[in-house]
Amino acid sequence: MTLAARRRLREALSPALFVAALLLAWEIASRALGISKFVAPKPSEILPIFAQRGAEILPHAAQTLSTTLAGFVVGVALGFALGVALGASRRFYAMVFPTLIGVNSIPKVAIVPLLVLWAGIGTVPAVVTSAVIVIFPIAVVVSASIATMDAELADVLRSLGASRLLALAKVGVPQSMPAFFGALKVAITLSFIGSILAESVAANRGLGFMMNRAASDFDVELVYSGLLTLAAMGIALYLASLALERRVVGWADRRG
């Protein structure tokens, strides 16, 4: 094995080893301190649940993943468009930004029950909540990045006869990409929070619903297996965005 290959393998394995070490520490601490399963069950009590009741968890996980993805895509698209508009126009920024702050200050917990009354139970409120929750962080980061676009490059382009729009497309947007992908990672976790929130207020399917029902049956292990499933799905989405990021803005990563 070459030195480079060995290094790549080590890099690929280290996150998995870290998770394994965390679970092991949890198991040991839980046993040593005699923590009751109603406070936190041990990994050795939770992990077998996936083997025994995987078929029960799967449809709920699939529902949550699909609503989250749908909300995530919609929210990121809207957030990006909004961010570009905010970053490009000082006047639009001054007009809209205070409202945006105000709207985002409303806790989503307070909105979801209303959404349910407007849109009914199940998929729609989950998608909407998950979308609404990611618009803001994406828009803020993208707008800040566009607003601070490299003035020299933009001037050069404009002196060559490019329109403002073209300068934005050729300089502003590409320059905002590294920051955009950073915000994307925040958005992934937020969109899961959004869909789970909506599912636990009103849904007949999804991990939020499953954990609610399990909690009412004192089925603590199932609740925690739902949490671990969510964590795993979050990591999977993160890895997907990382792959995309390497393709799109690999040029920006300066780490050795």
Binding site: S36, V39, V201, A202, A203, N212, A215, D217
Partner: protein, 346 residues
Amino acid sequence: MTVTRSTLLRGTAAALAGALASPAIAQPLERLPLTLNWKIQGLHGAFFLALERGYFRAEGLNPDIVAGDGSANVVNRLAGGAFQIGLGDVASLVRFNAQNPERRVKAIYNQTPADLVVMSLRGRGISKPDDLRGRLVGAPVGDAAFKMFPAFTAATGVPASAIRWEHMAPNIREAMLIQGRVDAITANEGTALFNLKAAGVRQEDMVFLRYSDFGINIVNAGMMANESFLREKPETVRKVLRAVNRGLVESVANPAASLDALMRKDPLLNRGIEAERLMYSIARMVEQPDAREGGLGFYNEANVRRSIEIVTAAEGLPAPIAVGDFMDLSFLPPASARVIPAIGRV
């Protein structure tokens, strides 16, 4: 005289000594977290009345009374160890104690029986159980009436599979019924009735399919405590029950005082609705056969056994638990302290 550091110190020491010698401080109050079953409302006034009037202090207790987030979740709060004693849905103990015999939670004081109901509104075409077939019924997953629906099925012949269930959080259940997003809801009558009233629905426009009309009577709100706590601190448990019992007896005799204590605790409550809710709960508490037989707090063993059997069958548990694994009445105050007084006016 000039004030120096030493005279100040001496003065403080003297004041402290005087304070320590006074009987009020001689015995420090025992701090104790106590969980309620739901957000503060109705009969909870009894707990705050007991607090205001010093019934707890007289027992040497300083309880920290905390609102609940669902009566079936109280057992989780106790099992997790953050609380040792509280007011909750004792019917949930049937499943919990069957599955966790090493850390039982026991019912120790009976407050009110369950008032399980399927509720609808006039004009929705629902007046008898058979009308529920094919309809949309809203039910929070942890709702007792939803969980006990198999018992409703056994009594009425309407299977759960004939109904289209919609699940939501309890706090939006009534709104969904009013909006017409569901045709009916499962609930505790005392909760849904007054929530709907507060939302402006007239009582004559409500339709009630009461489980009790089909012979389904089970236990519900009661004081419960960890078995380990009963074993380790039996005196503390007796003291808590004495204070709570005094609060409840006084609430029956003097509902207005109980309501005042409640409103002082949460001034945002709607006094009119809470007055009605309180009188409803008091009536249910004193009219139940168990209380008529043995005074407030009493559980009739045969009734409890019947409750355990209904819950065991409805939740599909392997075998009913023994009555002795469900409750322990040895901490009740003497019967003379639990005599039901005449119901006062609010």
